[in-house]
Each structure stands twice: as C-alpha cells, then as structure tokens.
C-alpha cells in the first residue's frame, strides 16, 4: 500500500514515497519551467532508492503552485465569458467589477448578467430567459470563446439554474468548457463568481498540465490514479482537477502543516516553516490547519476560499543581520544564500552565519564566521529568538505552553528551547513536509446552505446537511466506512426573524483503495 507524494513548488520539486505511512524514500530537485521534467527527475530519484516496483504504488498525490503562479504572473490564461444568473437582483455590481485592470483585460472576453437564481428560501428570483441564452450561445460561438464561468444566486443551496445553463451552453457551443460556481465556492456571490472566473481562465492550462503530469508518470511505469491536493488539505482526482484547477490554490502551506502533523504525531501544535526569506507560522487544531476568516486575495482578486491562517514574518535563513546584531531581516539574500552567506564563501552576514557561529547549525565553512565578535552573535541570536517567541505567542489560542513543530530549510535558526513552547519538535524528513502532506491527504465533501428552521427541527436540518456532506465525500472517492464529519458550523442569519441558519458541514474520509 505505497503512496507517492509530489510537491511542485516555485523553487523545488520534492517527491516522497510512503509505505503504510512510513517514509521509505525522498528526493528534492529544482523545479523546471515545463514542470514535467522536474517531476520526472524527482520521481526517478525516489524510485531508484525504493525497494519496491512502480505497480506497488497505489496512488500518486501531487501538490502544486503552478496555477496560483499563472494567475499571479498573468500567464497562460484563457479568454473567458463570465455569466451571472441573478436579474433583477445583483445589477448594482457587474461581474469582475473590482478586478485589477490588467487581469480583467487579459482574461475577460464577455461578462453578462441574465435573469435567474434563487432566494434564500428556494423560491426562484426569475425564470431563465432561454431567448437571451440562445443569443449568448451565438455570441460565444462567434467570438470563439472556449471557457466560461456560470454563477447563479444561491447556487450552493439550489444548483438547478447553474446546471441548466451549463448544459445548455455546452450543447450549443462546440468545445466550450463551463465552470459551475457551486463546485468551487461557498455563499458570497462576488467571491464565488471571482473564483469561478479565475478557474475558467485556468481550465485550458490545467487540462494541458494534468495531461503532462499523467504522461510523465506513465513514462515511469506508474499507472496508479493521480490526485491533486486542494486548499483544504484534501484530495481531488486529476480529472476533477483539470476542470477545477482553482481548488489547488494555497495547497502548499496546508500540505506543509498536514505533513508536519503526521511526521511529529502531534495533532494540536504550532508549526513554523522556516524558509530563506520568511517564516510562516500556523496552528494545527485536531491535525488540520486553523483557517483564516477573512476574504483571501489571489492575484489581486477577492475570493472566499478557506485558507490556513498563516502569519508570516520576515525572518529566514538568508535574512540580513545588521553589523551589531540588533536587527535580523526582513531583507534577505533569498535563493542566493548558497553563494552570498559568509559560510558559503560570500560576503554577506546572514542569519544562517549566526546559526553556524553559535553552534546551532553545522554547514558551510565554520572558520569563515570565527571572527564574529561573540557579543554580535549573542545579540543576533536574542533578536531571532524574540521574533520567533512573539510569532509563536500570536498563534497560540491558550496561554499554556504548546509543542512547536519546526520544518523547512531554515529550521536550524530555531533554538531547542523557545519561550512559550512546551517542546521544540524537529521531525525527520521535515525538508519534504509538503510532499508528505500531499501523500497522506484524505478526501472530503462539503455543503454550505441556508436552512429555515420553520417546519423542521434544528436536529433534522443538521442531520440532513451531514448526510449530504457524507455523500459528497463518498462521491469524491472516500471509503464510506471511514467518513467522519469534521466540521459543523451554524451561523444564525442576523436581522432576519425567520429562524434561518447558515449551515456549513464538512466530511472527510480515507481514499478508497488507498
């Protein structure tokens, strides 16, 4: 029952092979512009180390920042049509209204609002206007639009209009791929519509990329199913990911924290991921990252994805150290650490040099930092420790000391004793925590709807929502026996005396046959 986890980051591509939860091989290679050759190199490397044949690998899990980067860098994005169903409501804010101009110009071919959508209680706002939709189909054909996003008001609760329009347009516009907003977002029309539009712009790239991933794996004789990790730390099939690439956004920090949880065996802890330039801190609650509650901006676009609540500070292995040691960061030599740091023969005093001088780390040439005055080293260490202590404290949810798990390339900066930490845990294989997080991921199902408590009890309404979430998890590939409800959130609808409640339920289970 082996699993292969792969993490394609901006700098490195990591691969790790897990057998019954144990790491049996791992490798780190530079990410390549075509992505696939980096994956091939890393996977070849682990397969060469491993005492098992490719057919024994039952599943391949891949985490990637490829699609996030495409949005941030405005490259490889398709021209899209954004279709909203909501008139006469929603007219005050047209689609893409608050997007950065450059992104809107890059992707927007067409944006329309048509009649449709539902009220919170399930009534139709307006029937679909088939004549207008027929005209729209003609316009899409004439302009050669290949990808579209459809968003209907309250579609997370009532999907019928979104589905009907997606089917109608797919049948009439050859080759059109349609993103349905309810598949990727929750209640919050503009944010869900934005995410659907970003997704539509990424679909052609995603189809091509997923195909390239699959080809690379089959070249290696790996025929196991491929999964991609999502922002909530769970998996989707490669086929689904080709349609919904936007769900990979922010999977990196989530995988890193999930990996840290599994490697350390801790379910409630603070995780510090120390890189070259920054340290990202997050909190694990019952083995999953605590989520941020604010709208998340991606490439300048407001979305409502659930992202891990990560606090970043400008402190990493490459942070510049002031001459007297009283300042460390936020400026950093970044990826040039291996040529610019003193211990590597460079001429810049970095946090890594301090760690070596103080004996916290052993790498490079220690004789090149022997000349540093002890007072400077002491002061710099105190500065580093204080900033880490403050970060840990700001992440804690109770005053009690908590375990701190340290991962990432710059983890040598962290001392063995940190104020506020009950222990500092440095799990083995921490350098490939992301890939491990991908490899151990489960599958989930989620529902988000507004239910009225008139005519039904609260218990009955919650039970129905839980059953639907379980069904969604099984549909996503979970073993029915392993599915559990991990999250139930009830938010009373303020200012509305009809006893309506917004209910969000998430169910998670182990991958079938994984």
């Amino acid at each position: 029952m082996a699993r292969l986890g792969i993490d394609v980051g901006g700098t490195n591509t990591d691969a790790v092979l897990l057998d019954r939860g144990e790491v049996i091989a791992w490798a780190k290679h530079p990410t390549t512009p075509d992505v696939s050759s980096g994956i091939l190199a890393a996977v070849r490397d682990v397969l060469a180390q491993a005492p098992l044949a490719p057919p024994e690998i039952r599943a391949v899990m891949l985490g990637t920042t490829h699609f996030t980067n495409a949005v941030v860098q405005r490259r490889d994005l398709a021209r899209i049509a954004v279709i909203r169903l909501g008139l006469p409501a929603t007219a005050s804010i047209p689609p893409l209204e608050d997007w950065p101009d450059d992104l809107r110009e890059t992707v927007a071919e067409l944006a329309v609002i048509l009649p449709g959508g539902h009220q919170f209680d399930g009534r139709e706002i307006a029937p679909l206007d088939w004549q207008a939709l027929e005209q729209l189909a003609g316009e899409l054909r004439r302009r050669g639009v290949g990808t579209a996003a459809v968003t209907a008001v309250f579609s997370p609760a009532v999907p019928t209009h979104e589905d009907a329009v997606a089917e109608f347009l797919t049948a009439r516009v050859p080759g059109l791929r349609v993103t349905r907003s309810r598949e990727i977002g929750r209640i919050g029309l503009l944010e869900r519509e934005n995410a659907a539009a970003l997704n539509a712009a990424l679909v052609p790239l995603a189809e091509q990329t997923v195909r390239a991933f699959q080809q690379a794996l089959s070249e290696l004789g790996l025929e196991a199913p491929l999964y991609l990790s999502q922002n909530d730390g769970t998996l989707m099939t490669a086929e689904f990911a080709a349609h919904y690439p936007v769900l990979t956004f922010a999977s990196g920090p989530t995988n890193s924290m999930r990996g840290a949880a599994v490697l350390s065996g801790l379910r409630d802890a603070i995780v510090l991921d120390v890189g070259g330039t920054t340290t990202d801190g997050g909190a694990l609650v019952s083995g999953f990252p605590r989520e941020a509650s604010f709208a998340v901006m991606i490439g300048g676009v407001r979305t409502n994805f659930r992202m891990p609540d990560v606090v970043s500070i400008g402190l990493g292995g490459g942070s510049l150290v002031g001459p007297d040691g009283s300042t460390v960061g936020p400026q950093s030599v970044g990826y040039r650490l291996s040529s610019e740091a003193l211990v590597f023969g460079g001429s810049t005093l970095t946090a890594s040099d301090i760690a070596v001088a103080a004996g916290r780390a052993r790498f490079g040439d220690p004789s090149r930092v022997a000349h540093l005055p002890p007072s400077v080293v002491r002061r710099a260490l105190a500065t580093i420790d204080q900033r880490l202590t403050e970060l840990v404290d700001s992440l804690k949810t109770t005053p009690a000391a908590v375990p701190v798990i340290v991962v990432g390339g710059g983890s040598v900066l962290v001392p063995d004793h940190l104020e506020g930490a009950s222990e500092v845990v440095r799990p083995p294989h921490a350098a490939v925590a992301n890939a491990i997080g991908a490899a151990i991921a489960q599958v989930s199902g989620e529902i988000d709807r507004i239910v009225s408590l008139e005519g039904q009890t609260r218990e009955a309404a919650l039970a129905a929502a839980c059953a639907d979430a379980r069904r969604a998890a099984v549909a996503a590939g979970a073993d029915p026996a392993s599915v559990t409800i991990v999250e139930i959130e009830e938010i009373p609808i303020a200012y509305l005396p009809s006893n309506a409640v917004r209910v969000r339920v998430k169910a998670v289970g182990d991958l079938r046959g994984g």
Partner: protein, 375 residues
C-alpha cells in the same frame, strides 16, 4: 458647507463606516463598489451640512434593511430604495429635496449615496445613529419624535409596500421585518420623512465627514507605516480598551438576532487580563476581568491589531488578534430619552449602569469646530 463626493472619499468612507458599525451594520464593500461605479459613470453626489438645509426641505431617510448574509449572496439590484422613495413621494404628494442616512455604521452609510447619485438629490452630512444599531426604532429620528410613518419598502422586482400609519417605530420595525422576509430577506426602504427644521433638531451631525476622515486617517497611517489604531482613536475621540486574541466565541439565535459572547485574552500591556464582549449583531457590553468598562450606546469596535480593518461579529473567531476601541457615543444618544431606547437596559442588561466613556464623539467635535448649534 457643501462638498462633492469623490472616489477617494468613497474608499475612505467604507473603512470608516465599517469601524463605526461596532461589529454589525453589514459590510460596506458592496455599496462602495456600486457608488464608485456610479461616480465613474459621471453621476454626482453632493453632501450638505445640516445647518444649510432650508426649514421647508423634505428630507427622507433611505437605505437597505435585512440580513447581511443575504446581501453578500443576493447582491442588491441597487435602486430598491429609490423605488421606495418614489412610492413614499407619491403617497405624500411631494418630492424629496434631500436624503439622509439612517445609520452611518456599516452598509447603510453607502446606500443613500447611491440613491442620491441616481435621483440627483443632495445628502445630509449626518445620520440617525452615529454608529450601527440592530433595530430601526433605535435612531434619533424615532427617539426625538419624528413619526415612523408613512414608510415605504421595495424589493428587487420593485414590489412596493407602503405603510400609511403605524403607531410607532417599534411597530414599524416588526411589520417591516416581516415584509422584508417575504421580499427575499433584504429590501430597500424610505422612511421617515421630515422637514429641514425637524432634521436639524434630530440628526447626529457630521457623521459622513467623520467616517470619511476616519477612513482617511487609517489609510494614510497604513501608507506611512504609522499606527492606524492611534490614527483611528484621534479622529473618533476614542480610547484603546484592550489588545488581545479572541479565545472563544459563543453564538446563539434569539428572535432573528445573532446574540453571543466573545472572550479575548490580553496581549502586550493587557497580558494577564481577559475581556468579555456581549453582542447582539453589534457589540454591546465590554467587561474587563468582570468589570464593565464600556457599554452601549458607547461604541465598542473590534479592529485588526495591525491594519485597523474592522472585524464584524459575523466573522469574529478563535485566534483573531484584535484591538478593541471604545468610542464615546454622540451626545444625542446620551440623553435620558435616548438611553431609555439604546442604553444597556434596552438590550436586557438591567443590572448594567451606563457609565459614559470620557471624551467627545468625533462627529460632535466636528460640529463644535464648525460652530454648528445642534440640539
């Protein structure tokens, strides 16, 4: 004094209104985008100081009522309050000459501006709350005797309901909520109507200016890497009540309102202390280690401890790191007749005695500076 609203003002106003929302009032973001678009299309909005309004003016309060959770999904058509205004005008047989916001805290700070842009009417620099409150009888218009009716509501289809007469604002509150549910959970309103002379007697002055200045202060502090919280306090006349981390939020549904309690654990100078805040959509009572340190109608505002971005009671959750601002209520809310409606007892806290925070509400300060005599 008359001034014209710019895009920059709208940007600042949305932040200021969010903070003055004291945890509720709905998100001003959606109204901001709408007003910004109307300005970009060439429409104009003029803001008029209360003392410039002629005695015989017909001033109408307009805005939206309903659930913010509906408003983030079923975004407004935009002109619902205008439809309500037209219905009210038809009933009265007179055209409105000025508009006034009912509530400067939250989404309803922006919506009258959109109606003003569409109807080409000026907006009074002031409002009926100086903050946000959960119910409409809690505005100074009702408190100081402006009849609640006639009143009009309109929905996304411009279905209209006009109430020619209801006994008082509390009765209107009940009828209007029931109609709003039928209207899909959110509706545009136009009420009450009053003369210019009446408006000057009952309005809380200069609150649009206050919200704009508050937003500008926060934005410029962020740009200059200064402390946005200190900037917010200077403009509003408030004090820093607490810095801390949310460690518990308990919510319960009570008669359509999100009531609840949150607990914060102190950080920095407040380490070792605990702050407990009771809320009903808006924050009502703050207790530090069991002692009441601020109470409604004074403003208790949660903001992000770094950016001063407002944190609403709907999104507040475990682990958020916040600063709690205490802003003295407008003088108009501190009279005995106002406290009977918006004091702690009115929210069920019969054992909490209202001890006013020291300082002067920013809007009152602006009024004093401009030499406006306000009653």
């Amino acid at each position: 004094m008359v001034w014209e609203l710019t895009e920059a003002h709208v940007e600042a106003l949305a932040i200021g209104a969010g903070i003055l929302g004291t945890g509720g009032g709905g998100n001003p973001y959606y109204g901001k985008l709408y007003v910004r678009r109307l300005l970009r299309e060439g429409r104009r909005v003029c803001i008029v100081a209360p003392e410039e309004v002629p005695d015989d003016a017909l001033v109408v309060s307009v805005g939206g009522m309903g659930a913010p959770t509906i408003g983030i999904e079923r975004i407004h058509r935009g002109d619902e309050p205008l439809a309500a205004l037209r219905a009210l005008e038809q009933y009265l047989g007179r055209r409105a000459t000025h508009l006034v916001p009912g509530e400067i805290g939250g989404a309803n700070a922006l919506r009258p501006l959109a109606v003003a842009a569409l109807a080409e009417l000026p907006v009074i620099d002031g409002d009926g709350m100086g903050r946000a409150f959960p119910e409409l009888q809690m505005d100074t218009f009702a408190i100081y005797g402006i009849p609640a009716t006639p009143a009009a509501l309109a929905d996304i289809e411009h279905n209209l309901v006009v109430f020619p007469y209801l006994r008082d604002a509390l009765t209107l509150e009940r009828y209007a909520r029931a109609v709003t549910v039928q209207m899909g959970g959110a509706a545009g309103f136009a009420f009450p109507a009053m003369s210019g002379a009446e408006l000057r007697r009952v309005v809380i002055p200069y609150t649009i200016s206050l919200a704009v200045q508050l937003g500008e202060a926060v934005l410029s502090a962020r740009r200059e890497h200064a402390d946005p919280i200190a900037a917010a306090l200077a403009v509003t006349g408030g004090c820093l009540l607490f810095r801390g981390k949310v460690i518990d939020v308990e919510r319960r549904l009570a008669a359509g309102f999100a009531r609840g309690t949150m607990r914060l654990e102190g950080l920095g100078d407040d380490r070792g202390s605990e702050l407990r805040i009771d809320f009903q959509n808006e924050n009502l009572i703050a207790r530090r280690d069991g002692q009441v340190i601020a109470a409604v109608p004074d403003l208790i505002c949660l903001v992000d401890q770094e950016t001063a971005e407002p944190v609403t009671t709907e999104v507040v959750r475990y682990g958020l790191r916040v600063a709690v601002l205490g802003i003295p209520a407008p003088a108009m809310l501190r009279t005995p007749e106002a406290l009977a409606v918006v004091g702690p007892a009115a929210f069920g806290y019969v054992d909490v005695e209202y001890q006013p925070l020291s300082g002067i509400y920013g809007g009152d300060r602006l009024a004093a500076e401009r030499g406006a005599a306000t009653q």
